[in-house]
Amino acid sequence: MNELGRRLWADPAGRAGTVILLLLILAVIALPPMLPDHRVQPDIVRGAQPPSAHHLLGTDNLNRDVFARVVRGGQISLLVAAGAVLMSVTLGTLVGLVAGYAGGWVDGVLMRLVDATLAVPRLFLLLLLVAALEHIPLGILILSIGATGWLGTSRLVRAEVLRLKALDFTRGAVALGARPSRVIFTHLLPNVTGPLAVATTLAVGDVILLEAGLSFLGLGVQPPTPSWGGMILDAKPYIVSAPWSSLAPGAAIVLTVLAVNLVGDALSHAQAEGG
């Protein structure tokens, strides 16, 4: 794992992605207390103001500071991404480990379930899940995204486990009396962390886009809580008169996803190099 980190840092693209990502995380954690209150009374009369010394990225149609909203939206987006990815990776890893190790009918049932669910597009599945609710709490949103994201991970982990299971050290551990749970968690799991790290990182980018898309459709994070997708939706009618109010969250999405993908790519290269 340390070795992987070292190789990630040695790759210029990986280093750039890591730095951008760390700065983004630092910004959404440290900045909010210093920003103007986003719950300030909306001012429709003044409307959208262009960027100025007072409002770095201008204000939106309700005269709310765009920079402050992008930062708070980022907080929500990263929170959703972290929560959902953590959940889907955990779930996917568990299913993959069990299916791969147990084999036989357990493997058959689990993997056919995965195949069947993968046949339905994820966005469609999510729309079905959240559209059924009138009001969508943040927790439910995270759960829904997490619950639909583990399928790919489970396939990846299962394939790795099948490969590892045939190796002598796994059979050796059994021959020396290790119980199945021990074989799975001490011998198999540490050996899948490399590919898992790559998949996890790339999944973060996917989830940020997915959440932005859902919010843009009005089915994600609910106003007045700011989110990047939601801000673009709000700013859509003013794209000509006040382009800054949609460009800023759009740029934030691009920057974050780009950074995440840089890290993911660099990780997968580092993975391929050293194994």
Partner: protein, 323 residues
């Protein structure tokens, strides 16, 4: 002497498309306390599968037939399952695998792997397990054991890894050690060191060792007794000295003749023609007869087990018909 391991009529069956295959087909042997028995055979003779069967680790879809008997002291291994079986594996019978690199987990340190195995069998604290791990590494003569605990397998040489595997197999303090081709991936000088180490551990721990090998040369002078396996059966057993001096079975003679000699008159090495038949199509009667230089009509029926000398038996028709 008391026997620690007694194997009778061990058969392993693999379902086949046409007919089932019997790669291990009626193996009998006993392992006495503190002795080293060498199980010798060509590739495909069923010797490795025999060792896995002793731990009930025959890979699926293979099964051990129910009339097989494996007795470990007072324990009937065939009647065990689940937890009881796990308490045998590593604790009573230790296994050293042949591939020293592949048999160690690449992402865990030597110390982690040893401690894990120790704590599987004994209720010890982390630090106590660590101390025992260090002692085990010292026992297998790995230089600088304390530092080696934090090494990863790829940081060790082949011989060092084989020593670590031995330490792992010893972690459960087994009374039987199975060493399956423990030296086949090592160069000759290291081979000799590892074998000497196994022999030393056998003596110091009073452990019985089942040494599985295709190499008769490493058996001489090390093993107390030798069992020659051919096509799923043991064809000749006896004290190593007498089997080497007066081999009874034509197959054993063939094996010995195919070894180059350093002493005595110069002669050509004589290989045995052909190769081991396939386990789903064993020849009828004596399984060696199609390759045997001394075959006769009787060989197409099952040969009896006959004594050659005290404690030395073989499965062959020769003594009954010899003039």
């Amino acid at each position: 002497m008391t026997s620690v391991l007694e194997v009778r009529e061990l058969r392993v069956r693999f379902p086949g498309r046409a007919a089932p295959a019997w790669p291990v087909d009626g193996v009998d042997f006993t392992l006495e306390r503190g002795e080293m028995l060498a199980l010798v055979g060509e590739s495909g003779s069923g010797k490795s599968l025999t060792s896995l069967a002793l731990l009930r680790l025959v890979p699926a879809p293979g099964t051990i037939t129910s009339d097989s008997s494996i007795r470990l002291g007072e324990i009937d291994v065939m009647s065990l399952d689940g937890d009881a079986l796990r308490r045998i594996r590593g604790r009573r019978i230790g296994l050293v695998m042949q591939d020293a690199l592949g048999s160690l987990n690449p992402v865990l340190t030597i110390g982690d792997q040893l401690c894990e195995t120790i704590r599987t069998h004994f209720p010890l604290s982390r630090s106590a397990a660590r101390a025992r791990a260090e002692a085990l590494l010292a026992e297998v003569a790995l230089p600088d054991p304390a530092r080696r605990l934090t090494s990863y397998p790829h940081q060790l040489s082949g011989g060092q890894r084989q020593r670590v595997l031995l330490a792992l197999a010893l972690a459960g303090e087994p009374e039987v050690l199975i060493a399956d081709e423990p030296t086949s991936s090592l160069d000759v000088t290291v081979q000799a060191q590892i074998l000497a180490l196994i022999d030393h551990l056998r003596a110091s721990r009073g452990m019985a060792v089942l040494l599985i090998t295709h190499d008769l040369a490493i058996v001489a002078g090390r093993a107390d007794r030798v069992a020659v396996m051919y096509a799923g059966r043991i064809v000749e057993t006896g004290a190593t000295r007498t089997v080497f001096a007066t081999p009874g079975h034509p197959y054993t003679r063939g094996l010995l003749d195919s070894l180059p000699r350093l002493r005595g008159p110069v002669r050509l090495v004589e290989p045995i023609g052909g190769s081991v038949p396939s386990p789903d199509d064993w020849p009828a009667g004596c399984r060696f007869h199609p390759r045997c230089p001394r075959r006769m009509p009787a060989c197409t029926s099952q040969p009896p087990v006959v004594p050659v000398a005290p404690g030395h038996t073989m499965r062959c028709w020769l003594p009954r018909t010899a003039p």
